[in-house]
Symmetry: C2
Subunit: 240 residues, 2 copies
């Protein structure tokens, strides 16, 4: 069965290729610059994300200055030291070895923020879920990331940062939340598998374990699960 609104097989394959080969890049940034034409297209992709009540709560801070980036990397290094005690003892040595950012090596950094007051006059869709604006902003990040993959541009999301310190460093006002700190730029390659899988930190979970039917404990959808498992195996992924 195919919808009349579906893309051609070739175009569909391209969308899946972007999704399946996107990587959280840390190690493979080159010294090449990122063209403004390409960056503008990526920002347009981000700006076309869905947003609750058409709020478009995002802003994009482009950071090129190396001194500022070094300050951000210092924040990362402190945060990583602070996080280490949370990691299970038997994984601490591996955690220390993981490369978890490309702040200074990438062509530029981009902070995607969420202005929490942009729809305060008529906050459609936020009375029961006040976090919806944060989620809209994440959708913008994912659009940016997938478009970047298609452009051959690597993106890495640095999550190990103290947000209060980051806000001070970038003069972000109280009512604005930094959602994603991204390292962005040309790369030598996109790794075949996610870094954390290659380094033995984790494996992709079997998809059939993640599908429920009707309720969170519902064990139906056997046909769907079999198809999903077959596709995952066809992708060369055997799950956990």
């Amino acid at each position: 069965m195919q919808s009349d609104n579906a893309f051609s097989q070739q175009a569909r394959d391209a969308v899946y290729q972007a999704i399946f080969t996107r990587r959280d890049v840390r190690s493979h940034f080159t010294a090449d610059p990122l063209d403004d034409e390409v960056l503008a297209r990526l920002l347009m992709a981000a700006h076309h994300a869905p947003s609750v009540g058409y709020m478009q709560p995002w802003n994009f801070i482009v950071i090129r200055d190396l001194e500022r980036r070094e300050q951000v990397r210092d924040l990362f290094l402190s945060a990583r030291r602070e996080e280490l005690p949370q990691i299970a003892d038997e994984r601490k040595a591996l955690y220390r070895k993981l490369k978890l950012e490309g702040i200074c090596e990438s062509a530029l950094n981009l902070v995607v923020t969420c202005d929490r007051e942009r729809s305060k006059e008529s906050p459609l869709g936020r009375s029961h879920n006040p976090q919806m604006d944060l989620y809209s902003t994440v959708c913008a990040v994912q659009n940016f990331w997938l478009a970047a993959r298609a452009e051959g541009i690597g993106v890495g999301w640095v999550s190990i940062l103290d947000r209060s310190a980051l806000k001070r460093l970038l003069a972000i006002p109280d009512h604005v939340e930094p959602i994603a700190y991204l390292c962005v730029g040309p790369v030598s390659e996109f790794a075949h598998r996610p870094d954390l899988e290659r380094k033995g930190w984790g494996k992709r979970l079997p998809i059939s374990d993640l599908i429920m039917s009707e309720t969170y404990s519902g064990r139906g959808e056997q046909a769907l699960k079999q198809i999903a498992d077959r596709i995952m195996t066809g992708n060369g992924e055997h799950g956990g």
Copy 2:
């Protein structure tokens, strides 16, 4: 300038087409079913989202039962009544007319949840940003949404729901958070512009207003802003 890792022009266009023509669908669901083969591919797309510490915190509850969906729609109707007082007086009449869900008309509903304890032994990347697992789950939603656009399948995110009531209805345990309630299925068409724009609720913001340089008050990046504005105008969008 083009990266060696970039897709072909045609494949890149396909990715941007998915991003630019994706819609938050409420009105255009048909009575056609959604094929399990297609749904499995969409779930695979979701499962290939980035996740903090490779946590993969998501689950997918497939809801087909119409009685259960009617109960969810009742939750929506209550929540909308409760939200109305938050809306500015001059917009209340328009708010009442907006169609904000397709719970019973779509082929099926899908709840994407976040298991907040899946990486509790070694929560890499969550010490400073405990919300990162929620954001990872949103990335999965956006992957699903874009793949669905390529398949010609409509998706609508219902944000006006009381999450506690929804958790009870779907037997979702305390440590699991429902992130997105999606209506999913074949559609008659994808609207040319977002519903909330067509109905006069809002306009797409001019992209150059959203780009900052180095800090949140930084007014640089003039070249980048000009290019972005030109692309936006070329898309037939003139901003606010």
